[in-house]
Symmetry: C2
Subunit: 193 residues, 2 copies
DNA sequence: GCGTCAAACCTAGGGGCTCTAGGTTTCAAC
DNA sequence: GTTGAAACCTAGAGCCCCTAGGTTTGACGC
């Protein structure tokens, strides 16, 4: 019989594609085995178990995500960079919903140590914000504002939560404008109580 | 043998509590049966199947969510209302992660028809924004900005994605200030290209 | 060409989950 | 007390995860 010639990388790559099609939480060992035309048990020589498979998909996805963001912001600054970052973020989530969902899983320390992508993503985000001249605490708050909006909007969009007729891309662009405005005038919005 | 005296409502309520403890996607019929000290099969006289159980939990959760928001904004206006809305949103997600996850499922039309909570939530959000004097399109964009941020931040917080030492509540408050500022100056952030 | 050995793949089977079919028990109302 | 519906049960099929242990393939050295 012809064998598939699998390796851990090929299995994980196929799993990522399957996750994009079926959803990350519908990623199953048996479904993946079917797609690779192999018995379930065969996959366990490439991957420890389902949790391991999911974690590996997450590492792959986080790396691809960081690469996309890095490519998008390269050579840009200020609002240009913010818009490029935002567009790359959203398109990754929309084009690769399974991988995007995978990026949100909490990795165990062992897996986390195998990649620098999370740190790279954070560094890219902070680099983006440097143009707005915030101190460390304000910058952290701003990072959380951006991450919150980007993630929330993308997640809602992917899950079909926007029902109003208004063009979703237009709302996204408008929000990015609003966020740029907020960042530019960050100190003006501060409220003492 | 003593019987549990279950009904669909009791089953669904127990399922919601279980979801809050174990996570909405770890909600299982057999786990729920264990908790209710009943055989799996017994639950199928109260609920059609797992998908039906999940949908009913979603309807319950969306209703409770809308009630919380409504109670929070009652009698408030302007920034006060925004802050109350935001606090109610976040605390619901943090206190009831399983129910909150349930609110994000897409209901089939039949289930959707059994509740007015989604419409109520949208109405509350739009009422909140009325203070900022936006037209329909701008208001829709603003709703999406708010929903995106609220959902994304809460989701990231619940899933432990904020690792920086900065107090999470402080970041939330700061972001709410920033959003209020953005809404107040909505037209100023508009960029023509 | 032939043995060797690791990697790739397999069958068999246990345990958990969902769900159906069909039977039994409880309880309230007559 | 009988009756009928609601609540609950056992039994079992099908799918999924995973392990144990065995077989096949293919590259490499002799």
């Amino acid at each position: 019989m012809a064998r598939a010639g699998l390796s851990t990388e090929k299995v994980v790559a196929a799993a990522a594609d399957l996750a994009d099609e079926a959803g990350f939480d519908h990623l199953t060992v048996s479904g993946l085995a079917r797609r690779l035309d192999v018995r379930d048990a065969s996959l366990y020589s490439h991957v420890r178990n389902l949790a391991d498979l999911r974690a590996r998909v997450a590492v792959l996805a986080i790396g691809e995500f960081a690469d996309r963001i890095a490519a998008a912001v390269a050579g840009r600054a200020g609002k240009d960079a913010l818009a490029a970052f935002a567009a790359a973020y959203r398109s990754f989530a929309v084009d690769h919903p399974g991988r995007y969902a995978a990026t949100r899983t909490q990795l165990d320390p062992e897996m986390l140590a195998s990649t620098d992508a999370p740190a790279r993503t954070i560094a890219l985000t902070r680099a983006l914000l440097r143009a707005y001249g915030l101190d460390e605490i304000d910058e952290t708050d701003a990072v959380r504002l951006l991450r919150g909006f980007f993630h929330g909007f993308a997640d809602l969009e992917v899950n079909g939560a926007f029902l109003h007729g208004r063009d979703v891309s237009a709302s996204w662009d408008r929000a990015v404008d609003a966020l740029h405005f907020t960042l530019t005038n960050w100190h003006l919005s501060k409220e003492e109580q």
